[in-house]
Amino acid sequence: MLQKISSYFYLRPKLVLWLTLGPPLAYMIIVYLGSLFNLLINSFYHLEPFSGLIVREFTLDTYARILEPANLEIFARTTVMAITVTIVDALIAFPLSYYIARFASPKLKTWLIIAVTLPLWSSYLVRVYAWKLILAKEGILSWFINLLGLSGALDAILSIPAIGGSSLALSPLGMFIVFAYIWLPYMIIPIQTALERVPHSLVEAAGDLGAKPLQTFRTVIFPLAFPGVVAGSIFTFSLTLGDFIIPLSLGNSKFFVGQAVYSYQGTAGDIPLAAAMTMGPVIIMVIYLLIARRLGAFDAL
């Protein structure tokens, strides 16, 4: 009986394909692309200001509102934050990944990878609130900085308008620290995988041909691991771009995209504007992914 079933499927590879691929594909098309399409349609409606009702007619009015300076500023602020987080995460992740991939013994490697991914076991919200406490005015970080006698320096940094605030927890700088921390594992893992895949014989070949260790790194190891950096940056960039919890919990009153979407669709009830706002990161990500593909990021995934 079992054999009959096996041979039935063996002789019909197309059926097997549709049975295995079909359900997730259907889910993707209906639930994911469907909602995205719904979002797109909603972004072309607009809110009647007096009645507060959504007018289901095609209009570009909502998009015109996106182009108002206040909203453009939100996009710029979010994109700058996403780029900064990505660059800093890449700078922190690369040396660590390099050590894990090339020097750590197999046993140590396992422990280090567990250490890197361990924060992902606890809730994202818990970690954000933990950071809120760490960065608070009376928090452990301020206490420690005070202990080192550097509170003057901290106050000086916090008085810089673009990044400062009344305390680390209520400043863009604090928000940046938390973003960089929260998304770091998503940068480390792809870089480490990419470095792991650089065959050791290539490193030996470079040395054999006269390249000193630094030259080998610059001409062989880094170029081959770069797609991993780009792959990691897709995560850190897109996750920062869309996040609303961290700007909501930390930082000051200045909006980020995710936060703006959250408040427009919630209290304001302006679904069309929220939808149009969401299209912003979608477009930015499409552009980013096209560049990433150029750089070979998808060969490393």
Partner: protein
């Protein structure tokens, strides 16, 4: 002065003695092969010459200079890797010019020498391609050109033909030998293929269990194997010992004799005085086209393998020999007495 000299070189990995007290001298300009089964220590020796590995004890000299603890980039040797190890993100020309690039040779000069190398390995016009666009044989040539462009004192080749099919391998064997003669560089060639070693080498070192069993020209190794291992690894051989050996030679020895040296005669034949002989029955006949292989059971016990070329005989003729009585004889010079 020898190109490479090993002085009591050992390399231990924990309890494993990958190379154990190896001593050898490789002459300037010679095509030297390190032959042996996998795990015999030949590749470890090569890696120690290249600098990827360091001896646990002992010294390695490159033209008289002790290089035992120099890093690879300070040694005047280059390697052709088993998997070629071409840089996938660089073009063929950039791969070949890599050694000059890291030594900061000016671009025009580099381009000129890369072109010369492409010509030497018959790949002119392929400089702009990526390694992934080349066939196995072409990659092999790029790897060779990339190593030779640096004019190393010694070129190391780590089973470079292993991944090629038989036809291409034979063609590359001839080509490698020709290139070696043209550039006059000492080649050290690691292989587990005894035929390849016999075809190409001026001299061969035979490795077994981390030790060098024998060093000599292909003819010496083939005709006068010093140990049972050598006799068995290079070509096929009959190893005869104990009572059987005593009955044939009258001496208490162990000896080997090559199957093609044994004459398969009729029982009425009187063997020449300078021959050893033994009677037996043909138990098995395998027709292999070019030659036929016989398994002969000797009367007093023991088997000998005999091969005969099919100069006049057809498969029908030779297969009739099965079960026949025969008198085997071979010249006394064709046996190699073994130590132990």
């Amino acid at each position: 002065m020898p190109a490479i000299k090993f002085e009591n070189v050992s390399r231990h990995f924990g309890d494993v003695k990958a190379v154990d007290q190896a001593g050898l001298e490789i002459r300037d300009g010679e095509f030297f092969s390190m032959l042996g089964p996998s795990g015999s220590g030949k590749t470890t020796c090569l890696r120690m010459i290249a600098g990827f590995d360091r001896p646990t004890s002992g010294h390695i000299y490159l033209y008289g200079k002790d290089v035992s603890s120099l890093p690879p980039y300070e040694r005047d040797v280059n390697t052709v890797f088993q998997d070629y190890a071409l840089f996938p993100h660089m073009t063929v020309a950039d791969n070949i010019g890599y050694g000059l690039m890291v030594k900061k040779v000016a671009k025009p000069e580099r381009g000129k020498r890369v072109d010369e190398m492409l010509e030497l390995v018959q790949l002119s016009g392929f400089g702009g391609r990526k390694p992934s666009q080349l066939s196995g044989g072409q990659r092999q040539r790029v790897a060779l050109a990339r190593a030779l462009i640096n004019h190393p004192k010694v070129l190391l080749l780590d089973e470079p033909l292993g991944a090629l099919d038989l036809k291409l391998r034979q063609q590359m064997q001839v080509e490698l030998k020709m290139i070696q003669k043209r550039v006059g560089i000492t080649f050290i060639f690691v292989t587990h293929d005894q035929e390849e070693a016999l075809t190409m080498s001026d001299r061969i070192a035979l490795f077994n269990n981390g030790k060098i069993e024998q060093i000599g020209s292909p003819a010496e190794i083939y005709e006068h194997p010093k140990s049972a291992f050598v006799a068995g690894f290079v070509g096929t051989s009959n190893l005869v010992s104990g009572d059987v050996a005593k009955r044939i030679t009258g001496l208490d020895v162990t000896f080997s004799v090559r199957p093609e040296k044994i004459h398969l005669g009729s029982v009425n034949e009187k063997p020449p005085a300078e021959d050893y002989s033994s009677d037996g029955t043909i138990r098995d006949v395998v027709y292999l086209g070019l030659y036929t292989r016989y398994l002969v059971e000797l009367d007093g016990g023991g088997d000998l393998v005999v091969v005969e070329q099919n100069l006049k005989s057809t498969s029908m003729d030779v297969l009739k020999n099965k079960g026949q009585r025969t008198r085997l004889h071979w010249n006394k010079e064709h046996i190699s007495k073994m130590a132990g």
